[in-house]
């Protein structure tokens, strides 16, 4: 396996770089979308809320692979042609937006009712309550779940190989085709995913500690 790593080292690095790029970009896109969805859900009038709920239901209720195929093969028929990397990143980001919105919703619920009552009684608007009271707490509480989401995205980025993006999994396919050593090639790829996810999960613990609210022991542990 080591000889594979040496021989294809350059390609593996390029593939890994692309996998991470897909994960990071789709995470950021998803984060922006989840912010929009959350504001729509919490503050929007009825019809806007319904649109947000429908968006979330659609992206959570259909396979990510189908969503990627739709964007890559479906959009050209509407006159929009995206390259494989863009289509995959966009699809994964749109999908992640729905999941991140669900994360924010569940942590927003953890902010206790009395704080909301007091905030309103002080004369804050609903938008101010959301911005100054709910979100600062909800986002901190969401760090573990969002870390998890990011690791999911890194793994889901493997689906981009289906439409030909030369990311890490695709490099595994390439190595297999060239050497017929499928098990070793994919094991090598799997270990690289593992190393990156593990390093990320470790560093997110530091982020949690950094952003912890003093006195909240479960965060400073």
């Amino acid at each position: 396996m080591l000889d594979l790593a040496v021989e294809y080292g350059h390609l593996l690095l390029v593939g890994l770089g692309r996998s991470i790029a897909i994960a990071v970009l789709s995470f950021l896109l998803g984060f922006a979308i989840s912010a929009a969805l959350s504001f729509a859900r919490f503050l929007g009038p009825g019809p806007i809320r319904s649109v947000a709920e429908a968006y979330i239901a659609f992206f959570r209720g259909t396979p990510l692979l189908v969503q990627i195929l739709m964007l890559f093969f479906g959009l050209p028929s509407l006159g929009v042609r995206l390259d494989a990397f863009t289509a995959a990143t966009l699809a994964i980001g749109l999908n992640s937006g729905a999941y991140q919105a669900e994360i924010v919703r569940s942590t927003a619920k953890s902010v206790d009712e009395e704080q909301l009552l007091v905030a309103r009684s002080l004369g804050l608007s609903e938008a101010q309550v959301l911005r100054h009271v709910v979100l600062p707490q909800a986002l901190r509480n969401a760090i573990p779940a969002l870390t998890n989401e990011y690791v999911m995205l890194l793994k889901e980025s493997a689906l981009a190989s289906v439409i030909g993006v030369m990311e890490l999994t695709r490099v595994g396919e390439y190595m297999t085709a060239a050497t017929f050593r499928a098990f070793q090639a994919y094991m090598l790829v799997a270990l690289i995913y593992l190393a990156v996810s593990y390093a990320f999960m470790r560093s997110s613990k530091s982020l949690e500690r950094l952003l912890a609210i003093p006195g909240f022991e479960r965060w400073s542990r």
């Binding site: 009552l117 004369g123 804050l124 608007s125 600062p136 609210i213 003093p214 006195g215």
Partner: protein
Amino acid sequence: MSLLSLEGVKAAYDGVEVLHGITLSLEPSERLVIMGPSGSGKSTLLKVIPRLIEPSGGRIFFDGLEITAIRDERLLRRVRSRIGYLPQHYGLFPHMTVLGNVAFPLRVVRGLPRREAEERARRYLALFGVDGLADRYPTQLSGGQRQRVALARALAMEPELLLLDEPTSALDPESRLDVLEALFEVARMGKSMIIVTHELDFALEAADRLAFMEAGRVVAVGGPGEVLDSNPRIREFAERMAGAVGSASRS
């Protein structure tokens, strides 16, 4: 003119009516204590006044303005900011320091510049002896300290009316005395307030009137001594509750 008046105010949760037409009024600088068994609608009554819960019927007037008729969000928020409200468990924002908790609404709602807001916040914290805790976070404080910070936050907004929901009932005996002392201090300031409490001493010494609630209705209202004297059943309840919360303050 009354500072606050309620005319046949009703409230319901999921279609179940919990306030059956409350009629009450409060004069400026008046202190009204509300007592009653749990589930009698005391907390709901407090929340309905600034429309933190929408009343299902009746009318509420504050300083000549019919709160229940306000349709404009902005105006409602302005009226709310003139009425301080303290829930039973303080409702402090855990992600802000003590100073931040008090100064933040002054900046965001009152529009004070940071320095001025913090100065005023410190002044009110000092009033209740918690200015030394300005840089701490709420979870690092005892219950009594939290309640005093919450009191400082409400008062720093300089509201014309203060609504307090059982401010001492979640506290240990020592904290309870600290908060009780703070409440007497607020009473000395001549602040108009409605306070739901079982603190008999506070009712007898600091309140102008006592209202007794039962099953969503005010069944007796008047001078505290007079209500207790004319209703043996209420007196018995009040004394039993006072016994339950501790008698340390009677000495």
